[in-house]
Symmetry: C2
Subunit: 152 residues, 2 copies
DNA sequence: ATGTATGCAAACCATTTGCAATGAC
DNA sequence: GTCATTGCAAATGGTTTGCATACAT
């Protein structure tokens, strides 16, 4: 299975990061990463905390926040802020290949593959700025909301 | 002056929107739009409220929030959430022509012209989704932070 | 005259912080 | 043994809400 291989890669990246930065490799941190890897789309702190609880793994919210910061700094996840009040996260390797279509009406976020655009963005000349990753948001109205608007 | 013409256009767009939606054309709403038009870059509710106060125009924070919502809905401004806790806004016609280079280290946001990319993004096939505007964020490290990192 | 918009203050809630206890090194 | 990390609870602060008053229509 390819996903298993990918996960080993991700876990290793996390371990290398923790070792290099002299941070501790705690059970909590790896449990949280494991849990995130099971989520295919976006998630927020609340959802993550709940899932961990369901798996019978209790962690404090403070620890979840702390770990999300570490994972973001490590480059494994990235943060989005859509219409919702809570910050949303996503595994970076999943996010790289799509744009986010955000409906201004209902807040739904759809993903759109845009393979070639990625390379064009990477090719931008940014002077002294060293790009690490990017996110493209397109705001507008989704099909459902358009229909709903016509009805009225 | 071209800017004056642009502002008339924007003010008219706002008026049309308010009339169409049967919302009231209050002094506060126009004063807030005036103030925003003077700001060339990003701003948050706090900065805006402060500037209005400096101009001797007192409005409650609730009204600023309300007006920002109306202006966003009207399509005149768009919202960003960078590293800071407060939501940042920007005049939409200014934002359309540049990408945002966000430094993950210090949080600074630089703007980068990217004229041709805009058209490519507009050309994306999004199915039933009707795009209205977009925002491109590139995360990475700015020149200053890179230097600072080397020194240590 | 009617009902929306405003101002103010209180409430809300995601996130951060302080501190004692735990556990990775 | 040392000190980063955790858990818990309290604090923080941006944003939202409720309600009485003002005012656009």
């Amino acid at each position: 299975m390819d996903s298993k291989k990918k996960y080993t890669e991700i876990r290793d990246q996390f371990t290398n990061y923790l070792v290099e930065k002299k941070l501790r490799r705690t059970e909590e941190r790896y449990a949280i990463l494991d849990c995130i890897f099971q989520i295919t789309g976006h998630f927020d702190m609340c959802m993550l905390h709940q899932r961990l609880e369901e798996l019978g793994f209790h962690v404090s919210r403070a620890t979840v926040y702390n770990t999300l910061d570490v994972l973001e700094d490590c480059g494994l996840i990235l943060r989005h802020q859509f219409m919702t009040q809570a910050v949303q996260y996503e595994l970076r390797f999943l996010a790289e290949t799509h744009a986010h279509l955000v409906c201004s009406k209902c807040g739904t976020v759809r993903e759109l593959k845009e393979g070639e655009l990625k390379d064009r963005i990477r090719a931008l000349k940014m002077g002294r700025f060293s790009p690490e990753y990017h996110a493209l948001y397109v705001y507008g109205m989704c099909g459902k909301c358009k229909k709903r608007n016509l009805r009225k």
